[in-house]
């Protein structure tokens, strides 16, 4: 992955949940999603932008997102993605899993007692 020392490699399946979360704000094109991730994480999670698209297409095939060509504010033609009901359900499920996981990780890494 291209990037500087401060960036973090993405875990498998992480990209999907990031994209779903991004789209929960409303329809967005691929570049918009990339930019939002970049801004939100201060460029820590350096997503290789090309990998966004296969993820989007896969989620479209699974019925999580819907795609539609629209005209941008700058009067250009761009493909916008939006969440479907199934996508929203998926995001909710993933959010729960991630919260549990990150809480557990935090406990482990902040532990002060050695195992008995």
């Amino acid at each position: 992955m291209a990037g500087t020392g401060t960036s973090v490699a993405l875990l498998q399946g992480t990209l999907d949940v990031i994209v779903l979360k991004t789209l929960s704000w409303g329809p967005m094109h691929g570049f918009g999603i990339a930019r939002w991730i970049q801004q939100t994480t201060d460029d820590v999670l350096r997503v290789e932008e090309g990998s966004l698209y296969p993820a989007l297409y896969r989620m479209e095939n699974r019925g999580w997102v819907r795609a539609q060509w629209r005209i941008t504010d700058n009067n250009r033609r761009a493909k916008y993605y939006s969440l479907t009901a199934a996508g929203r359900r998926q995001l909710a499920a993933q959010t729960g899993t991630w919260s549990t996981f990150s809480l557990a990780m935090a406990r482990i890494l902040s532990a002060t007692r050695q195992p008995a």
Partner: protein
């Protein structure tokens, strides 16, 4: 949801589903390129806005994006996946939409739907029930480990046909047949089991060790016997059948090692064979080693063994038979009196097990297929009738832009849904039908009892239902959608063609009538056969005769005189049973298939002059003929003077007397029988009338009767004439026999009436089923005729009104309608008669006393169909006469 329609004509090669993609993408590949270009350009623009040089902006954007062509490739494959999904969704939507519409349509016409589903359920159900029987009996593999490689081997006989195998020839085969990995042999035997409850007569197979190698199914417990035990002088061992083990031995898990007394000798139980061996009516209760003695191995003329070979893997049956035939040729040369012609007859074991019932099963299957065709004909007629009613609806949908293919698909969905409902109901009908079938089935059909509605049978039902739906839905659907829009809309629901004649519906009814005729002619021929069979004089009076078998074990009755005395004492004891009018003994009573047939010659002939005929060997007491009420035609029967040491005498039956001596008096003449090598001449002292001893449908066999003292058999039948009901007589007979020797088993107790009825059970079963199927076909055809005539009347209401207004009488109108029905039926009958001449040939082996082109049957059935057609037309004819001319004219 908008109804999808056909692609425009300018895109003939584009798949239909692409239409859906076109709602939002012109071309998926171009879309991918556009999307990625937009991304890169947007990034470059942002970089430029951040103050980078154009070169840096482009380079950084590309770096941030990664490998564009790899992404493009990955997206292309995901797009293809997407297209598949879209197509599937589109089809699912179309089908779901059609199904919803079909359900609504069928629900809106409950009478139509009900009649069609019931008709189809009858047709499909009957077919499924019969197919489950056919599958179980004819198609299912045998239960053995290598069922497909099992062959029954028989010896080709001089003068045609085939015979069982001699022990000597079997022994040679076994040593010189590398093409078989096992060559098992057996013959039938029987044993009396004593020491466990009442003495029991057991049906046995004397089987070689290789029998188990060829016909292997793992034992339930213990093991089968091997080569070391299959030797004369080896310790006696026995394998129990599952049925015997679970009944007599109460499924004792420790039965192996137990010692049984069979015919007075000790046998050690080595194992229990599973129930799967019991799929034929001749399944044994025990197996003991064949243990051929050196003398038996030298026997090359007595054809007693059944031989089953297991082909070596990869060996073709014709090759194996060719190689074995070379050996057999040498045997035919070495033993010219063995009766063999040097050929081998090899038949896959399954064919030899079920070959005898195959014609009957196939006739039933064919008949039930005809019933299905008639049922489907009726349903198709209903669909056509609805097609004409729905012309307006179809026209409107067509005018709204639905293409013809779309409309046909919609109508086909309806007929397939109808057929599916019929199929589901049909499986229920099949379950009931199969239950009834098994209840009334005769015991003689191997594997019929195992018939169930299992997966292959349900698959069959599904395929039949689907085929019905499609085949009989296509024409009505095409018909309904072939229309001139403007005309249909203008006319409303009235069909323009007014003649019944020549339309598809007419042809269907004619076809139904002809199929029903074919069915009924077949059923009629079998009924005529059954009547003819019922009228055959059996040559004895079965009424009031009880039969019971008794066998004397050799261990306790070792000599001929011991057996003779033993049977004399038994007969005396039974004679003293109150109600027993007369008690006789015979080695074999009617009706029995097997028996010892050998050559008989008259005095003055030579062995090679061709005057010998085959005759059955029987032993009987002098009062046997009187007890059976078979008339003594000439001479005398046996008396107390005909003891073992007296001059040998015989009684022969009329057929044999005629064959040997023509019209001359045979009394006092001498014959030799079953003693080809060292002739023993016996004097004929009496001639009795013929008995149909091998079955009522078989000609009387030639028979030679010996006095018991001169030819004692170890197993004989008691023949008891008594006015008492057999149920009360049987226990008294058992008690009387036990009084003589408590270790004797009394088996096969049955009345002569039962035995005669049993011998006709299979033909009666076939006849009953065929009659039922014939009547079903007749009823369905009658419904078809009624439907079309009623339709005719409704279509001609206007014309009938005019005729009546012009003075036609009710009688005239009624006759006009009746004529229509009879014309249809007449055409169907004519076609059916021609078809019957061809199809009844399949019944050639099943009819008795009538030809397969019996004119009486053909005429009666044709008359019956015309009568039914007339009856089916009466109601519509009557309705026609009730038409109010004014109403009819105004309505037109």
């Amino acid at each position: 949801m908008p109804a999808p329609d056909l692609p425009p004509d300018d895109m003939p090669n584009e798949p239909r589903w692409r239409r859906y993609l076109r709602f939002w993408r012109a071309d998926p590949r171009a879309d991918v390129r556009d999307e990625l270009r937009f991304h890169l350009e947007a990034r470059v623009a942002e970089n430029l806005a951040a103050g980078m040089s154009p070169d840096d902006a482009r380079r950084l954007a590309a770096e941030r994006f990664g490998d564009v062509s790899a992404v493009e490739q990955s997206l292309a494959s995901l797009t293809r996946e997407r297209e598949t999904i879209d197509r599937r969704v589109a089809w699912r939507q179309v089908i779901a939409q059609d199904l919803r519409f079909a359900v609504r349509q069928l629900a809106r016409n409950p009478v139509f739907t009900g009649v069609a589903v019931i008709t189809l359920a009858l047709g499909i159900g009957a077919n499924t029930a019969i197919f489950s029987a056919v599958y179980s009996v004819l198609l299912r593999p045998l239960p053995y480990a290598h069922a497909d490689r099992l062959v029954e081997l028989r010896e080709g006989a001089q003068g045609g046909g085939s015979m069982n195998v001699t022990a000597g020839n079997y022994d040679v085969w076994r040593q010189r047949s590398p093409q078989f990995s096992a060559l098992g042999a057996y013959w039938y035997g029987s044993f009396t089991l004593t020491g466990i409850g009442a003495p029991q007569r057991l049906f046995a197979l004397d089987a070689s060790a290789d029998y188990w190698r060829a016909l292997y199914i793992p034992p339930v417990i213990g093991r089968y016997f091997g080569s070391a035990e299959d030797q004369p002088g080896a310790p006696n061992v026995v394998v129990l059948s599952y049925a015997l083990w679970s009944s007599t031995f109460a499924s004792d898990p420790h039965v192996v090692g137990r010692v049984l007394t069979l015919n007075g000798n000790a046998y050690t139980v080595v194992g229990v064979a599973p129930a799967a061996y019991a799929f034929t009516p001749t399944a044994p209760q025990i197996w003991v080693p064949l243990a051929l003695t050196p003398e038996q191995r030298a026997e090359h003329a007595d054809h007693e063994l059944t031989v089953v070979g297991l082909l070596r893997d990869g060996t073709a049956l014709p090759d194996a038979i060719r190689e074995l035939s070379a050996v057999q040729g040498e045997l035919a040369h070495d033993y010219p009196r063995g009766g063999i012609d040097g050929s081998i007859v090899g038949l896959p074991l399954r064919d030899s097990v079920v070959g005898a019932v195959r014609p009957m099963m196939l006739v039933l299957f064919g008949a039930v297929g005809l019933v299905l065709l008639i049922a489907c004909g009726n349903v198709m007629n209903l669909l056509l009738a609805r097609a004409s009613v729905r012309r307006k609806e179809v026209a409107i949908r067509s005018a709204l832009g639905a293409g013809r293919a779309r409309l046909v698909a919609q109508l086909l969905t309806e007929s397939v849904l109808l057929a599916a409902l019929g199929g589901v109901a049909g499986v229920a009908v099949a379950a009931l039908g199969l239950h009834a079938l098994l209840r009334v089935s005769p015991g003689g059909v191997p594997r019929l009892g195992d018939a169930t509605l299992d997966a292959p049978v349900l698959l069959f039902a599904a395929i039949v239902a689907l085929a019905c739906g499609v085949v009989f839905g296509v024409w009505p659907a095409l018909r309904a959608t072939r229309l001139d829009l403007q005309q249909a809309l203008r006319e409303g629901s009235r069909e323009s063609s007014s003649a019944v004649r020549g339309s598809m519906r007419t042809l269907l009814v004619i076809g139904e009538v002809s199929l029903a005729l074919v069915l009924l002619v077949g059923a009629g021929l079998l009924v005529r056969s059954a009547i003819a069979l019922q009228r055959v004089p059996p040559g004895f009076d079965p009424n009031g005769v009880l039969v019971a078998n008794v066998a004397l074990p050799a261990a306790r009755y070792p000599t001929d005189s011991a057996m003779t005395t033993g049977f004399e004492r038994i007969a005396q004891a039974v004679q003293s049973v109150p109600g027993a009018v007369s008690v006789a003994l015979a080695s074999r009573v009617p009706i029995a298939q097997f028996g010892m047939d050998c050559t008989v010659r008259r005095d003055g002939s030579t062995p090679d002059d061709g005057s010998g005929v085959d005759a059955n060997m029987r032993s009987a007491t002098g009062n046997y003929f009187g007890t059976m009420r078979t008339p003594l035609l000439r001479g005398r029967t046996f008396g107390i003077a005909d003891v073992a040491s007296a001059a040998p005498v015989v009684v022969i039956n009329q057929s044999l007397a005629h064959r040997l001596f023509g019209d001359a008096d045979p009394i006092g003449r001498r014959i030799t029988h079953c003693s080809a090598d060292a002739p023993v001449w016996r004097q004929v002292v009496g001639v009795v009338a013929d008995m149909r001893a091998s079955g009522l449908e078989e000609p009387p066999p030639n028979e030679v009767f010996y006095p018991v003292a001169q030819l004692p058999f170890s197993a004989m039948s008691l023949v008891i004439r008594s006015p008492l009901p057999p149920a009360s007589l049987a226990p008294l007979v058992r008690r009387a026999v036990a009084g003589v020797d408590p270790e004797l088993a009394v088996s096969g107790v049955a009345t002569m009436d039962e035995i005669v009825a049993r011998s006709m059970a299979t033909p009666r079963f076939t006849t009953t089923l065929l009659v039922l199927l014939g009547l079903t076909g007749l009823a369905l055809a009658a419904v078809g005729i009624y439907g079309i005539i009623a339709y005719f009347v409704s279509q001609r209401a206007h014309e009938i009104g005019v005729r009546m207004a012009l003075g036609a009488t009710q009688r005239g109108v009624s006759l006009m309608v009746l004529r229509q029905g009879l014309a249809l039926a007449g055409a169907g009958v004519a076609i059916g008669l021609v078809a019957s001449v061809a199809t009844t040939r399949a019944l050639a082996g099943m009819v008795y006393g009538v030809g397969t082109r019996d004119p009486v049957t053909f005429v009666v059935v044709a008359g019956l169909l015309l009568l039914v057609a007339a009856l089916a037309s009466v109601v519509p004819a009557h309705r026609a006469t009730r038409l109010d001319p004014l109403e009819a004219l105004r309505g037109g």
